[in-house]
Symmetry: C2
Subunit: 293 residues, 2 copies
């Protein structure tokens, strides 16, 4: 027996701005629940492909498509969120609830709380290696965190609607301060990109600085451990740059903390303090399960 | 139709010293090919469990079990390889080919080339998160590199026999100098452990130094990217310590190189050089596939 569909969100048609990985996935889940989804995209080619993929009820390059929507999700890259085009601002229905999906929250909240009275800053934490109009897939948010960072003047009814949206697509709802969110994601998401990219570059550069067979050898011997440790460092360069740019203070603080930990480990090796190194690695082994949900 | 078994290696019974992940897996593959496998293990409880798991033709805590073997594989941890017990040295048949499976080669080769005339230093690069007598599994070496690091005085016939062993269990055979091997594994295997452990410790320490909700938040928000980047840092502490201890010069050189790359990335963030950061991350994204076999 099929499960009964969840009741529709009390907002009428839902607008989505941008149909990349996050916007497209959200649209698919909302359509599957019986919602009307109206999507505004920038490029005609995106509109055509989104229509072919049946990502939304209506897809248009005309911002007027958002008219009548009671909830609009801004599924845009951080730079476009922070410098929203005038035609976007003009097209947002004044009474609608507006939310975003950006991975850094303090600057987005600071920018948008003056732009729209019912803005809710939020961050669904789901992703794949894919991007663009082909990337959206059903069920992306299931079991993943969806964090909102309300301010003191955030409309509580608007916040509830965004929570209902997150729960409708199966996400785990959390709220916290925007600054705390940005510090946390600097540690567990943005710092790993830099740590991992530096490892790839080290294997390349130090290999090239050695005997002529070394570059081939490091490539031939790299195994699943190296592949795992470097996965996020080999990810989307544009996204990695935007995260560091929009969250630079927290990223620099995380890097400073990281340097201290690495210094300590290096000191163990330099001094031949093998008992100390073993204790450090035992602590790491005990820490890791705490970070796996 | 079943595939015809490979011809037996021309060495008579094969001895294996230690039945952990590598020794146990090798024993299973050799038994499956019709070889007689004689295993010497340290603890009676290991011998009993190995017999129950049918890991070898004969398992004993008496080194005399190695008598008559034409090939002996020392599947021991690095510290025991570097300080081999006298009863092991006494039990190795003088005419047999001896090889090891240690993940650092220069010190093992330096120690053993004076201990046995037919020693071949080698390193099958396969692993799982498991260790001990329960860990061995069939097919572990299939498609994985098996590196030998012959010296000028390594017996070429002995080297050929170890190559035949590696190929019998489906590994990819490579040879290189011991120092080059150790530099390569420092970059792609030992450095990642430290880089990854430091990341876990940073997420823990910097979370704890923040507002009271931060430690819970970093744990709740850590996702698959953090899990991947920290996998090897949460691995076996004993193994990580032995690698750093036995390969400390190459590990320190790799750490120095890593620090330069991380400094460069940090400088980009500090100076707001977003074009430069994007170029660095684009380069990383292009580098990574070169390291994935």
């Amino acid at each position: 027996m099929a499960e009964a569909p969840a009741p529709l969100l009390p907002c009428g048609p839902i607008g989505i701005v941008g149909l990349g990985l996050i916007g497209g996935s959200l649209a698919l889940d909302l359509l599957a629940q019986g919602h009307t989804v109206r999507a505004w995209v920038h490029r005609p080619s995106t509109a055509q492909r989104a229509s072919e993929r049946h990502l939304a009820t209506e897809v248009s390059t005309d911002p007027g498509v958002l008219e009548g929507c009671g909830l609009v999700v801004l599924a845009l890259p951080l730079d476009r969120l922070l410098e929203p085009p005038a035609e976007l601002l003009a097209a947002l229905p004044p009474g609608a609830v507006i939310t975003d999906v950006g991975s850094v929250k303090a600057p987005v909240l600071a920018r948008w709380r003056g732009l729209h009275p019912r803005f809710v800053a939020s961050h669904p934490m789901a992703g794949t290696a894919q991007a663009g109009v082909e990337a959206g897939l059903a069920g992306l948010f299931s079991g993943r965190p969806w964090v909102a960072t309300p301010a003191s003047d955030t409309d509580p009814v608007a916040l509830d609607l965004v929570r209902a949206l997150a729960e409708l697509v199966g996400a785990r709802w959390l709220t916290c301060g925007a600054a705390e969110h940005d510090r946390a994601v600097a540690l567990i998401s943005h710092l790993p990109v830099l740590v991992s990219a530096a490892l790839l570059q080290t294997a390349d550069r130090c290999g090239a600085a050695g005997p002529s067979e070394l570059p081939g050898l490091v490539r031939a011997l790299a195994s699943s451990g190296f592949a795992d440790t470097t996965r996020v460092g080999g990810g989307n360069p544009e996204l990695g740059t935007l995260m560091a740019r929009c969250n630079h203070d927290a990223v620099l603080a995380a890097l400073a903390g990281y340097r201290r930990q690495l210094d300590d480990l290096e000191q163990r090796v330099r001094q031949g303090d093998w008992d100390g190194l073993r204790q450090d690695l035992e602590e790491s082994a005990q820490l890791r399960p705490q970070f796996l949900s």
